[in-house]
Amino acid sequence: MNIWQVLSSTWNMEPWVLISALALLVGYGIATGFKLTKLSALYISGLLIFVLALVSPLDFLGRTYLFSAHMMQHILLLLVVPLLLLLGIPKALAEKALKIEPIGSVMRVLGNPVVAWFFGVGAMWVWHLPSLHDTVLANDSLYIAQQISFVLIGMIFWWPVFAPVESRRLSPLVSTLYLSSACLGCTILGMLITFAGAGLYTAYLNPVDSIGILPLIREELCLTPGVDQQIGGLTMWVPGCLIYLTASMVTIARWYGASEDYELISDSGTDGLVTATSQENK
């Protein structure tokens, strides 16, 4: 088999993926009235990436042969898909949903930045503990649970920054700190994986070569276990961090674009002269 044959023959139409994506799509359509807007385009592209990440060869290769493929899928499911889904939710819908108890109070707890941060960074770290990762690969239902948890936790993680309702968002500067500290968390993990030396995840060392493409991967593509693991670690580290960074830039750009906070201008004293600010008169 050459590489194109591999890529064309390893699509795996998992029913649970298609059904859940369809359910999410229909649910969204019912809630928003089946109109194609900018928001729904974001939402639908999120669903598309969700489906692609789980039925395309990325999923097959990531489960059996390549850690790097797993990591790309992981980045898509944890960082990209939930972000797009969250951005696609209209403000009015979210406001309505948040009024319904217990959704409102649950999101107040989960949307707390500290909680959300630990969920987001924790998902990355815990699911990549070597022993746990190997177990997950061997167990189908655990694998499905893992993928679903990525998307859910991803939404929790992005909530404090990109919640559809502005009042639930952190201020732009705090968002930047929130995202850059998360970036630090994924940098450290990526670094550890990159420099750990081959064989951190034993399942990828000698995969069961069910369709006979191991020589192709190892020799023609030169993806030895060491190189594969390095690509995986670096994918988490560099592009992963770039997503956080881009998100911080978006928040800052949005802040500059927003209209000036007039409360601060009408603050007492600004119309006339004031004395210099100091600790004492603060």
């Binding site: 960074l245 830039m249 210099a276 600010t277």
Partner: protein, 556 residues
């Protein structure tokens, strides 16, 4: 809790008070941000002269092939101390000092949030430097291991002298001082802004200081832990960085560059801030794309944290790692390019007034672009493999640090000197200073690009008489002496102008930020009254009540 205990006497005279013959106590015991800022600048200037002297000794040794002016050991000490001094005791304290002086004035505050902490930071830097230079008086002299002190060369078995120990101790003290001033700046900028001075109206210099301060508090702990480990290795026989005993020399490189690369941006971001203040004032236009300059600074700050491994392409991290880091490093060119374009767009169509600050700012753009372009070149792995550890690298980082930071600092000194001292620097001498700096700088360093490509390695105390090497090095050395003359002219300008300079009005350049609203030099309490802030250019609004900037300042 708010009453202060008067442990030290509060100074009562406006600055500068030295000539009033009141003794040094008003300065040594001062917790006033203006005095501390000036002391930062004076101390860094002293270190600038020392570091420059070391550079001259290096260049004299290299002026001709097979020279025996300096012994190899002394040569090694010279380049180590030159690099360390210029980075940690010249550029950083100069920029921090200008920040400490200007930030409270620019945001309309009485002082820094923590005046005593401010004094502590300054004195830690001073004593860190003394600790570093004390090593010259120990047996077999100062550190000889280069400013990045690669293990295992810096470890006990290979450096038996005390030099590296003092080096690490001195830098540890300085680093703690820098963290303290970073924390102080952050809290000051976030909490002590005058009414109306929202984050979106902050002068860009203050923005840059804010981002730099965040970088400082997040990367200096990295090097503090690395220095601690190095000291434990050297003093208690720990084995962190000694491969012979199970340690890892590469670990030092990761730690060092994890700090060292963001450090480059700590050295250059405040310089960007100075340029962003000078260029609009002397082009008589508001800054073009304020949002982009501030936003791209944040992007540079964040990106800089994740690209250190491009200093380690020759180490053997593997091709995959090299490729990722090369790509990430090249990304930094985007936000940096945005800034350059914004400055040029600000000048475009403006009524440009080429006073000395503007001359330096314009030269900064050109020299920094050269340094930036070579930077993008060596971010590419194959090019880096050819020129790494050659004079090409030396030329590159001098274009960034001298052509970038030092040019901007000169621009800033000429720009704010009237505010610091109440007198103008001489424009005539200033122009001589400027042109000699440009000629000397380019003569010294441009030719080093070629030397590097021809294969001359850095940090060699002498070289064989290969074709052209001798003459090219001689040109570089002559350039260094021209540069030295320009620095002497600058010092003389400062000395002369302090005594005989033209009296400076409050706002000699017709600038728009708050520090020009107060007297020159400012009173101890900074402002009698702070003008209202309704836009990004409060003094423009004050002078043109009929035509103020829009509050939201959509000037793009």
């Amino acid at each position: 809790m708010s009453t202060r205990i008067p442990i030290v006497p509060e100074n009562v005279k406006p600055l500068p008070a030295l000539k009033e013959n009141e003794g040094m106590l008003t300065w040594v015991a001062s917790i006033d941000h203006k005095q501390i800022g000036i002391m930062y600048i004076i101390v860094s200037m002293i270190y600038f002269l020392i570091g420059g002297l070391e550079a001259l000794l290096i260049r004299t040794q290299l002026a001709q092939p097979e020279n025996a002016f300096l012994s190899p050991e002394v040569f090694n000490q010279m380049f180590t101390m030159h690099g360390t001094t210029m980075i940690f005791f010249v550029v950083m304290p100069l920029l921090i000092g200008m920040g400490v002086y200007l930030v409270p004035l620019m945001i309309g505050a009485r002082d820094m949030a923590f005046p005593r902490l401010n004094a502590l930071s300054f004195w830690l830097v001073v004593f860190g430097g003394i600790l570093l230079y004390y090593s010259f008086f120990t047996q077999s002299g100062a550190s000889e291991v280069g400013w990045f002190a690669y293990a295992p060369l810096s470890e006990k078995p290979f450096s038996l002298n005390k030099g590296p120990t003092y080096w690490a101790l001195g830098l540890l003290a300085t680093g703690i001082g820098s963290i303290a001033s970073g924390l102080n700046n952050i809290v000051t900028i976030l909490t002590l802004r005058t009414a109306g001075m929202t984050m979106r109206r902050l002068p860009l210099f203050v923005w840059m200081i804010l981002v730099t301060s965040f970088l400082i508090i997040f990367v200096f702990p990295i090097i503090a832990s690395a220095f601690s480990m190095m000291l434990l290795d050297r003093l208690l026989g720990a084995t962190f960085f000694t491969p012979a005993h199970g340690g890892s020399a590469i670990l030092w490189q990761h730690f060092f560059w994890g700090f060292g690369h963001p450090e480059v941006y700590i050295l250059v971001l405040p310089a960007f801030g100075i340029i962003s203040e000078v260029i609009p004032v002397f082009s008589r236009k508001p800054i073009y794309g304020y949002e982009f300059i501030a936003g791209s600074t944040v992007a540079i700050g964040l990106l800089s944290l994740g690209v250190w491994a491009h200093h380690m392409f020759a180490v053997g991290l593997g091709n995959v790692a090299n490729v990722y880091f090369a790509l990430a490093s090249m990304l930094i060119a985007i936000p940096t390019g945005i800034k350059i374009l914004n400055w040029i767009a600000t000048m475009w169509g403006g009524k440009i007034w080429f006073a000395t600050p503007m001359l330096f700012a314009t030269a900064f753009i050109i020299e920094f672009v050269i340094g930036g372009l070579t930077g993008v070149a060596i971010a590419s792995v194959p090019i880096d493999w050819v020129v790494t550890d050659s004079y090409f690298i030396v030329a590159h980082f001098h274009y960034v640090l001298f052509g970038g930071s030092i040019f901007a600092i000169f621009a800033g000194v000429y720009y704010w000197f009237p505010k610091f001292s109440g007198r103008m620097l001489s424009e005539t001498i200033g122009k001589w200073h400027f042109w000699l700096t440009v000629v000397g700088f380019n003569m010294t360093f441009f030719i080093q690009h070629f030397l590097g490509v021809m294969g001359m390695p850095r940090r060699v105390y002498t070289y064989h008489d290969f074709p052209y090497w001798g003459s090219m090095n001689m040109i570089s050395t002559i350039g260094a002496f021209v540069l030295a003359i320009s620095v002497i002219i600058f010092m003389w300008n400062v000395r002369y102008s302090l005594k005989h300079g033209k009296k400076a009005p409050d706002n000699p350049w017709n600038a728009w930020t708050l520090e020009w609203a107060t007297t020159s030099p400012p009173a101890v309490h900074n402002f009698d009254l702070v003008p209202p802030v309704r836009g990004r250019r409060p003094l423009w609004d004050l002078a043109h009540p009929d035509n103020p900037d829009e509050p939201n300042a959509k000037i793009v």
